[in-house]
């Protein structure tokens, strides 16, 4: 009999559906039937579909979606033991891969290994060209590495879109006895879970990229600053770092090149503003994560006052492939001004939620329908939030906007961290605005008055609106606050509150007006008598 491999999709999302228990149960059953030598059960990361836990049986290439231990038993007893496919659990490969008719061109650069390798096994990473880019880079001059990254057109995937090669070059140019490379893995944007899945599914790609960055800019120490709540990512990263040290990809004299690099994981402690790069550096220094005044920027004066490169997880994960395949290969993907791919996180009221990597320039509609299979339950689409909480809310009329670094400037649609959150017609725009502002109010670090007070006032007015007690003056005041706060705030958090708020008001002005003039909520969600405030409190 040919050996059989069973891949079980285990990621943060499928764990919620019992994936871990299923794996244990599956292994036990396989052992009970004495099939250990024939059947290998592997945990793999996201296979992309979340209606149940996705399981792939190889070499038959059959996909199952399992929801219970009984389903696991069926697969073992029927498929593995008797070689009979269990049809009622079988899912169409097309539900794993995007529907044809939208011709979604999934291109996997940063997600290439996710789901294909065991993230805890460094050998599997190496088998897929892992650490080849590092050895190639170490044979190049640091300037050549930087030039390759610069020529590729890679820009930051953490939201701001700054050219990565340029950032490295600036850091390389500063003379200093010590420099640092920092990975921003704080991923706090509601609706975003891509960095988590990358770190869980392919931790070595981030480690390899950071080491390459260290070599390019002349840094000997790196930190990965990661959300404390991301237990699986932390675990996988720590294991990966340990293995990389053992194999000589980290530590002293890497691959005999004379270059040394150390890497440490630092846990965040739950503050959204720590995703802002200078606040993050403060936090690594052990202080409250309040943003610093810029300039000076981190390449000049960063961690512990030393020149520092700081990049997002997804940005880093692109680097090894760029070094291996060259800048022109990378540039050939995406749009002229936005090279490469973007990982999108699709959530909300759609049929299929999850993560998908697509070339830059893909439209909102393609992601929503091609990957997401459209709005759930046949409801009507009301709006889509793109880019994260500091991003934009758009109406269905803007679905054909291509998403890249120009979409904000050209169409007022934000790319941000790649969130696509679909919201159907059962939701109230004012209520969504309140939820959004409550987040900002809670996460405002309090360092500057405009943001601290502006977010508080905005919440108060919105709360009044959801109680149907606000007036038209309140609405005008709200718009004014949004603009004033954005203008006067110290950092990107306060500076961006006008984007979501004004996009909601502008797209759904009639709905806001109805709340203040007719004291009516279009979907009957807001009611006069005490509607509970859902404040985040510490």
């Amino acid at each position: 009999m040919t050996p059989i491999t069973v891949l079980v999709s285990v990621d943060s999302n499928s764990i919620l559906l019992g994936a871990k228990e299923f794996v244990t149960y599956l292994r036990n059953l396989v052992a009970n039937y004495n099939m250990d030598s024939l059947v290998t059960v592997l945990e793999t990361v996201s296979l992309g579909s979340y209606n149940g836990v996705t399981v792939q049986v190889l070499p038959d290439d059959v996909y199952y979606s399992i929801k219970s231990k009984d389903d696991v038993r069926k697969i073992v007893e029927e498929h593995l033991l008797k070689g009979r496919q269990v049809w009622d659990l079988t899912i169409d490969k097309s539900s794993i891969k995007p529907a044809e008719k939208f011709e979604l061109k999934e291109i996997r650069i940063v997600t290439r290994n996710i789901g294909s390798i065991d993230p805890k096994n460094i050998d599997e990473y190496i088998a897929r060209d892992g650490y080849f880019a590092l050895s190639k880079a170490l044979k190049m001059k640091p300037e050549e590495v930087i030039k390759e990254v610069k020529d590729s057109g890679l820009k930051g995937r953490g939201g701001a879109g700054f050219p990565t090669g340029l950032k490295w070059e600036l850091t390389a140019k500063v003379q200093a006895d010590q420099k640092y490379v920092v990975c921003n893995a704080d991923e706090g944007e509601p609706g975003t879970f891509k960095d988590r899945l990358i770190m869980e599914g392919d931790p070595h790609s981030v480690i390899e990229a950071m080491t390459i960055a260290g070599y390019a800019v002349g840094a000997s120490k790196g930190y990965i600053y990661i959300r404390g709540e991301y237990y699986n990512s932390v675990e996988n990263l720590r294991k990966a770092i340990k293995d990389a040290y053992e194999y000589g990809f980290l530590g002293e004299d890497i691959l005999g090149s004379g270059f040394s690099f150390d890497l440490t994981v630092r846990l965040g402690a739950g503050a959204y503003v720590c995703g802002e790069e200078t606040a993050l550096l403060e936090s690594i220094e052990g202080k409250s994560g309040k943003p610093r005044l810029k300039p000076p920027y981190p390449p000049e004066n960063g961690l512990f006052g030393k020149p520092t490169v700081i990049n997002n997880v997804e940005t880093f994960a692109n680097v090894p492939q760029i070094i291996l395949n060259g800048a022109s290969w990378f540039k050939s993907i995406g749009t002229p001004n936005s090279a490469g791919t973007k990982v999108f996180c699709l959530a909300g009221d759609v049929n299929r939620r999850g993560m998908v990597e697509l070339p830059m320039g893909v439209t909102v509609r393609e992601v929503l329908y091609g990957f997401g299979g459209g709005v759930r339950g046949g409801r009507e689409l009301k709006m889509v939030q793109t880019g994260g909480l500091a991003g934009t809310f758009i109406g269905p009329d803007k679905l054909d906007t291509p998403l890249d670094y120009d979409s904000m400037r050209k169409y007022g649609v934000s790319l941000g961290s790649g969130v696509i959150l679909a919201i159907d017609s059962s939701h109230c725009a004012v209520d969504i605005a309140l939820n959004t502002m409550e987040f900002f109010r809670h996460e405002s670090c309090g360092k500057c008055t405009p943001c601290r007070e502006g977010t508080r006032l905005a919440c108060e007015i919105l709360e009044k609106m959801t109680k149907l007690e606000a007036t038209q003056e309140d609405l005008s005041y709200l718009e004014e606050i949004a603009s004033l706060t954005a203008d006067a705030s110290f950092c990107g958090l306060g500076q961006s509150i006008n984007v979501p708020l004004l996009s909601l008001i502008n797209n759904f002005r009639n709905e806001f007006l109805k709340h203040v003039n007719e004291k009516e909520c279009s979907v009957n969600l807001c009611k006069k008598p005490e509607k509970k405030a859902k404040a985040f409190i510490k």
Binding site: L16, G188, P190, R196, R227, G286, G289, R353, N435, E438
Partner: protein, 165 residues
């Protein structure tokens, strides 16, 4: 007193950790993580102790503790129930889950149940949005696609004293 002795042990555990990491730069947050893991929360005495061991002003430690959501200056229930109110969860009805959770346990947000077993907390996105709405009990027990009607069942799994399973 038994309680004090137990405390002594906890302090010893913390001190041995501090001694290991003391010389690393910027380690305060790491130490506080450890302290909260050991004590469950960060009472003032613990904060003062950390300040003394790390040679920092108490005010700095206090400033850091109050800045970060993860650190708590109030005791928490044995099982910390976190309900995500991030946007993706919110649009999938997380507020109704929250309401039911509080009602079922008869507490306010952040308040500990009289038996000490539970406290309920509102949190921002937990990075599991495709399973929205999401509830996290303790550090690792995730529940996805939670409806208000599932609340009783989730709670009851922890009522028998132990954590689930």
């Amino acid at each position: 007193m038994a309680v004090c002795e137990r405390h002594e042990e906890l302090y010893e555990e913390l001190d041995s950790y501090i001694d290991q990491v003391k010389d690393k730069p910027g380690i305060l947050i790491g130490v506080l993580h450890k302290a909260q893991e050991i004590f469950g929360w960060l009472p003032q005495e613990v904060q003062e102790h950390v300040a003394e061991k790390l040679n920092l002003p108490v005010s700095e430690v206090y400033g850091v503790v109050t800045f970060y959501n993860h650190f708590s200056t109030k005791p928490k229930g044995k099982n910390e129930i976190k309900v995500c109110l991030g946007t993706a969860c919110y649009v999938k009805g997380a507020d109704r889950v929250m309401d039911r959770m509080l009602e079922e346990l008869g507490v306010q947000l952040e308040e500990v149940t009289p038996d000490g077993l539970f406290s309920v907390h509102a949190v921002r996105c937990l990075g599991a949005c495709s399973m929205a709405p999401v509830v996290l009990v303790g550090e690792k027990d995730f529940y996805g696609k939670v409806t208000p009607d599932m609340v009783t069942k989730i709670i009851s799994a922890y009522k028998r004293g132990g954590s689930h399973e």
